[in-house]
């Protein structure tokens, strides 16, 4: 019952930049991050007097692709509206967006629920709009604060995907976002690697209480963090018998907290009205020409069937387009032979090592991973050495050092299993026993911990090259000899 009383309800509004070549209403390039401020601008995206928007059809196609993939209904007629407000990053003092006639309505996205199994998160709508410019805050309190404005981002096409309040935990919100990202990337309409390409506003409430809007979440991890903070804050207030105020709060990423927005910002009256410079959109018929690629769910099923992946591995591998492509490239030389090891090594080990280094998968080529998997499959090296080889490979790439092949690393570090060469292992065993008489005594008294301890000592001496099975066998033999 306690759970029922503190049921968390979450809905998301996700803004994604569409990865088109040009902006939504002009021909300026969207590849603005690499150049200086105000270099990707023209009279249209600068909102100069007299300039008019002309719709980029490709952006609408991209948005419709998303709508189709998310099972939404394209409206027979949609239209653009003006959202009027003053802010220095908004050069026309209105944003061209969609209001009461969005491009698409309804639809859903399936995620893995907290209880396990799939669950549908319903969508309210998808609409298309332009990104505003960007303010860069300069100076500091002592030396005078000021802001510079960069309109490179102004006019970048965005879609806003609004969900129904169907998520029941911050974790589910994170999963929704990850799944959405994967879907958008599979559709080739979105690049999650680009800074600021995704922004999230979240609505969160505890059942029966007012809801709070959390704005300004700009990272995937941030969603779960911000909502967890907010959930705890709200639950604590309720526990103390206080009321939750219906308000907008900003997420402060650096501090991991939400902060009440000034009430002024909540009193916006956007004075929406239809954009008179653009004609209504009647694009439903375009749907016939829009073909969808294989999407994450279908690929997950295929990975299970085609590569024999477990559900969990298949989910992880297909949950990211790059990772799924990487896996398929790695196993391509020998699907049946390499898949079982590759699934485990990529889904469990590689991801962890990449995350630890905050390293992009793009910097690691599949062929190198294939080489490693082949060594492991041939039992040339132990799992432990495998991890070491992987780490060396990743570090070399991260530091832009010459990349060695896995074989070269094994050779250089002398990591090849000492299989057949029992002499080295036997010597190490003898040394380990001699150096640890207490362990020997414990073993004789039936201590299995002592055996593990000795295995560890031998491994250390052989620098992990000993085959664990062989080592065990030889060690027990040696201990038995001492009993005599």
């Amino acid at each position: 019952m306690a759970d029922e009383e503190t049921q968390v309800i979450v809905g998301l509004e996700v803004h994604c930049q569409l990865d088109t070549k040009s902006k939504l209403f002009c021909g300026c390039s969207t590849d603005y991050r690499v150049d200086g401020p105000n270099t990707h601008v023209c009279p249209i995206c600068l909102g100069l007097p007299g300039a008019m928007p002309a719709l980029n059809k490709r952006a609408i196609e991209y948005a419709m692709k998303v709508a189709k993939a998310l099972n939404c209904e394209i409206l027979n007629e949609s239209e653009f509206s003006r959202k009027n407000y003053f802010y220095p990053d908004l050069d026309k003092a209105y944003q061209i967006t969609q209001y009461d006639k969005p491009l698409a309505e309804g639809g859903y996205l399936e995620i893995e629920s907290d209880e396990g199994g799939e669950k549908k998160v319903r969508l309210t709508r998808i609409h298309v709009e332009e990104d505003p410019g960007r303010l860069v805050h300069m100076g500091n309190v002592e030396r005078g604060k000021y802001s510079l404005v960069d309109y490179n981002r102004a006019g970048i096409p965005l879609i806003e995907i609004v969900s129904e309040p169907d998520m029941r935990s911050p974790k589910e919100a994170r999963k929704f976002l990850n799944k959405l990202r994967a879907t958008l990337e599979y559709l080739s309409v979105f690049d999650s690697e680009k800074e600021g390409s995704l922004r999230v506003d979240a609505n969160i409430s505890i059942k029966g209480n007012e809801r709070v809007e959390v704005k300004n979440i700009t990272s995937y991890k941030g969603v779960e963090k911000a909502l967890t903070f907010e959930m705890t804050r709200q639950k604590n207030l309720i526990r103390r018998g206080q009321k939750i105020a219906r308000e907008t709060r900003h997420y402060l990423e650096a501090r991991g907290v939400t902060q009440s927005a000034r009430s002024k910002e909540q009193e916006h009256d956007y004075r929406y009205f239809p954009e008179p410079d653009l004609r209504p959109l009647r694009v439903k018929s375009w749907l016939d020409g829009i073909d969808l690629p294989e999407l994450p769910d279908a690929r997950r099923e295929r990975f299970m069937k085609e590569y024999g992946c477990s559900l969990s591995h298949a989910r992880t591998l297909t949950g990211d387009l790059r990772l799924a492509n990487f896996f398929e490239s790695v196993v391509a030389p020998d699907k049946a032979g390499l898949s079982p090891l590759a699934a485990t090594w990529i889904a469990d080990t590689l991801i962890g090592e990449l995350n630890y280094r905050d390293m992009s998968l793009d910097r690691f080529e599949p062929a190198a991973m294939t080489g490693l998997i082949l060594l492991l499959k041939a039992e040339t090296i132990t799992d432990k050495s495998g991890v070491e080889v992987l780490r060396v490979m990743l570090d070399e790439r991260l530091k832009n050092e010459p990349a060695e092949t896995p074989d070269a690393i094994v050779k250089r570090l002398n990591l090849a299993k000492t299989a057949g060469d029992t002499g080295a292992i036997t010597t190490a065993i003898e040394e380990a026993i001699n150096e640890n008489p207490k362990a020997l005594a414990d073993y004789r008294n039936g201590g299995s911990k002592a055996l593990n301890f000795l295995v560890g000592q031998v491994m250390k001496k052989t620098r992990g090259k000993a085959d664990p099975g062989e080592l065990n066998r030889l060690l027990i033999e040696a201990l038995k000899k001492r009993e005599v």
């Binding site: 249209i44 909102g47 007097p49 802010y87 050069d91 003092a93 209105y94 009256d269 009205f273 008179p276």
Partner: protein, 432 residues
């Protein structure tokens, strides 16, 4: 043959805000023709202010589509003409840089808002001019100054580069001393422009034709009723009589939706203007704000100092009308009223080829005569319906009343700009 033309006019009527000394020209059907351009049409490297202090010093880095077309036809851009600030007015008195005087009688206004363009043509300073017409801003000054002015069908001329006042109503159009000049200028500027997606692929390649035998002309009773100076009405009736002599047939008709036309017009224009004019904040162009103030305070200061009284009034009206809870009551309703006007015109045009009446209910006002905004708004009653419906309308001089020019207005079916030009041409040829 390209080159420059001498242009250094004695601008005694304050028609120009900027004059281009010895402007260059190229080859084409307007080779060497001096064309004056209303100051709300963007001209590359030539200051463009909309007769507002808030754009003082603003030099566009690009040409409006119509300017590109004019240059391509060899025209010489002679200068930028005075206007009511942002097009808001019917007298050109609402200019931040002083009123333009009517060359026919310098104690009178030239009409507006394209008053500078009309005066420049009427005074013979240029052969042709471009204006813009949101609710009569080409036809009114054409009528008051005794010249010809055409408001094209909505979508026939690209608005790209026209500094927007009310996007859904306005069109750029030609002014000239003769129908032929107006038609020639129209042929240079009409056509589809990918930068204005409300423009249509309907080029104008017409040569005026004076044969109007059998043409049916609708005469709406509202255009000769209360509020219309009987002397003006009489002159226009006589002009329509000349058209009948040329073989046209008149049919009486009525536009009942005119009752709501002005209200619909002013709601639409003020709403759109409140949004269009919000961008003038001093951050990117125009007089810069004091950067030591917070952006909010700086905006307030720049906008309060930069806009004239009429502009501020219309921004506030539009802001109010679009406020939460009022959209349905005002803007949405105004669009329904526009539909009704369109329906009335469609009904009339099923039995008539064109509609004729006075352009303005009166002759040119004396300077400062229209001191209260409401009486000024009422002067637009006969021109506004064509903008609400999007149809073409031309004003052609048809005599005088009280010694001042009177304009005959011909309105036509959507995209039948050629036909209203022909009727005006037939009249002009008959009386000259």
């Amino acid at each position: 043959m390209s080159g420059t033309i001498p242009f250094d006019p004695d601008d005694r009527y304050n028609a120009f805000l900027t004059t281009c000394k010895n402007p260059s020209h190229g080859n084409g059907k307007l080779a060497g023709v001096a064309v004056a351009v209303k100051d709300n049409i963007s001209t590359k490297n030539i200051e463009t202010t909309c007769a507002s202090k808030i754009l003082k010093g603003y030099v566009p880095p690009y040409d409006a589509h119509v300017i590109e077309l004019l240059r391509a036809e060899g025209a010489a851009i002679a200068g930028k003409t005075n206007m009511d600030e942002f097009g808001m007015g019917s007298t050109t008195e609402n200019s931040a840089f002083g009123p333009t005087l009517n060359p026919c009688d310098p104690s009178r206004v030239p009409g507006g808002s394209s008053g500078g363009s009309a005066a420049a043509v009427a005074a013979g300073m240029v052969q042709m001019a471009l204006g813009s017409d949101t609710g009569g801003s080409i036809r009114c000054p054409a009528s008051f100054c005794g010249i010809v002015g055409l408001k094209p069908s909505y979508g026939r001329v690209s608005r790209y580069g026209l500094i927007a006042y009310s996007n859904s109503l306005e069109q750029i159009g030609p002014l000239g001393k003769s129908v032929t000049d107006v038609s020639t200028l129209m042929s240079a500027i009409a056509g589809y422009d990918r930068h204005d997606t409300t423009s249509r692929d309907k080029p104008y390649t017409h040569t005026p034709d004076a044969d109007i035998k059998g043409l049916k002309i609708g005469i709406p009773q509202e255009y000769f009723g209360a509020g219309v100076d009987p002397a003006v009405a009489a002159v226009v009736r006589k002009a329509i009589g000349r058209l009948e002599e040329l073989g046209a047939v008149t049919v009486p008709c009525s536009i009942p939706s005119m009752e709501y036309a002005l209200a619909a017009y002013y709601v639409t224009t003020t709403c759109e203007a409140s949004s269009n004019l919000a961008r003038f904040d001093g951050v990117r162009y125009g007089p810069a704000p004091d950067t030591n103030k917070s952006w909010h305070d700086a905006y307030t200061e720049v906008r309060a100092a930069g806009f004239g009284a009429e502009v501020r009034r219309r921004i506030m009206l539009g802001t109010f009308a679009l406020s939460s809870g009022y959209y349905g009551k005002y803007y949405a309703k105004a669009q329904i009223a526009r539909e009704n006007v369109r329906a009335d015109f469609n009904r009339i045009f099923s039995g008539a080829d064109v509609i004729a009446g006075p352009t303005m209910p009166t002759v040119a006002f004396r300077l400062k005569e229209k001191s209260d905004p409401l009486s000024m708004y009422l002067a637009d009653i006969l021109t506004v319906p064509a903008n609400l419906a999007g149809i073409p309308a031309i004003s052609v001089p048809c005599g005088t009343a009280h010694g001042l020019p009177v304009g005959l207005q011909i309105m036509g079916r959507m995209f039948e700009d050629e036909r209203v030009v022909d009727v005006a041409y037939a009249y002009e040829q008959a009386v000259n």
